[in-house]
Symmetry: C2
Subunit: 200 residues, 2 copies
Amino acid sequence: MLKHGILGLISYGSLSGYEIMTVFRDSLNHFWTAQTSQIYRELQTMEKAGWISETHVAQTGKPDKNVFSITPAGRDELLRWLREGDLPANTRLPFLMKTFFMGELPVEENIAFFRAMRDEHVFPDEGKKASSDAEMYRKAMKDPEKAVYWKLTIAFGQMYEKMQREWCEYCIGELEALQRMKSAQGQGSAVTVDIEEEEP
Amino acid sequence: MLKHGILGLISYGSLSGYEIMTVFRDSLNHFWTAQTSQIYRELQTMEKAGWISETHVAQTGKPDKNVFSITPAGRDELLRWLREGDLPANTRLPFLMKTFFMGELPVEENIAFFRAMRDEHVFPDEGKKASSDAEMYRKAMKDPEKAVYWKLTIAFGQMYEKMQREWCEYCIGELEALQRMKSAQGQGSAVTVDIEEEEP
DNA sequence: TGGGTCATGTAACCTGTTACATGATTAG
DNA sequence: CTAATCATGTAACAGGTTACATGACCCA
C-alpha cells in the first residue's frame, strides 16, 4: 500500500526521496504515516521491480539528488491497484484497545482521558489543515479533477474528527452516569447496568 | 499494543492461546486483528518477559492445552500501559489512499466504488454484532462496570459506520456533480472547481 | 557559530501476514 | 465419512519503527 502511495505521487511527476517525504508529510499524512527510512527502502524495491527508474540530478548550492520517474510497468501497476477489489480493512485503533480495558482504572481517570481526547482531536492537526489544504488546492488547480478527490479525503478527516469528539462526549456522559451509580451504591441500592438501546 | 490486549484478556482470567484467539475474534476484532500465529508468538515473548506464566492442562476428549495466567509483573505492566500518555495514532486507511489517487480512473468507476462501500459498511459485520454483543454483555454481568467500557467501544463502531456511510453519500454527490460539470464542459463552458466551504 | 533545510541512506528490531504442518474428537 | 471444533505451533516474508550516520549550504 505504501508502495502504491509513492507510485501515485511519482505518477504526477518525477520526485526524489526527499520530495516524496515532504509531500507525504503535508497531504497523505492524514491517513498514512511513513518514515523517510521506509520511503528510501520502498523506492529501492520499486526500482528493482521496474515500476520506477532512477536518475541522478546534479544541483548547485544544494546536494545532488536521485530523482525517480514512473515506468510504463509502474503505470500499469498503479491502475491495477486502483481497480483491485479487496482493500485491507486495517482497523487498528489503539485508543479503543485502551478503552476496552479501562475498567481497571478509577472512573475519574478515565473521564479525564476522554476529556483530553475530545480537546486534542486525535485525528491530525486542525490548525495546520487550513494552510496545507489551501496549498494543495492551489497546486491541484492545474488538474481540477484531482482536486475533487483530494477534497474527499479531507472531508473524511473533518467528519471523523467531529464524530470522534461526539463519541468522547458520549463516553464522558456514560462514565459520569457510572460515577453517580457507584455513589448511590454506597447508600446500599442494588447494582444493575442497563444495556437497553440508548442509541449513541 | 497487541501484547497489552492479550494481557488485558488474561487479566480477566487465565486463558490458552486458542481461547485468546476466539475471544479476540468476537470482541476486540472490531478495532484490532490478530492471526493465531501472532498470538502464539506474543505469548512466548510475554512469558519470557515474566508478564504471564504457563501451565499445562490435561483434558479428556479434547487435546491438552497450555493455559497462561497473569503475574504480578504483568499486572503492573497492564496498569502502566493503561496510564501511559501517548497512544500511537496509527492512522492507516487504505480506502483513503485509494481515494486520493482515484483521479486516474473514470468517474463512473469511482462512483460505483463509493456506492459499494456505502452498502458494505467497511467497519465490521453488522449482522453478527447483535448476537456477539449480547453474549459479551452476559459475560460482563459478573462485573457490571466493565460492561460500560465495552459498550463504549461498540458505540464507536456504530458511530463510525454511520459516519462512513454519510461520507460515501457525500463522495457520490461530489462525483455526480463532477460528472455533470464534465458533460457541460463538452458544450464549451469554462472549467473551474469551486473550493469554497460546502461543509461536509 | 548554531540551527534549519536539503539530501541520502544503513542496521537492527518489532509487528503483522501468509503459508504450512499436525492430529484428536465430535456431530451430522 | 466428512466437516467443524479444539489445539499448537514454525518459517518465511512483508511492512513499520527507532536509532544512527553524514555532510553541505544558508540565514540569523
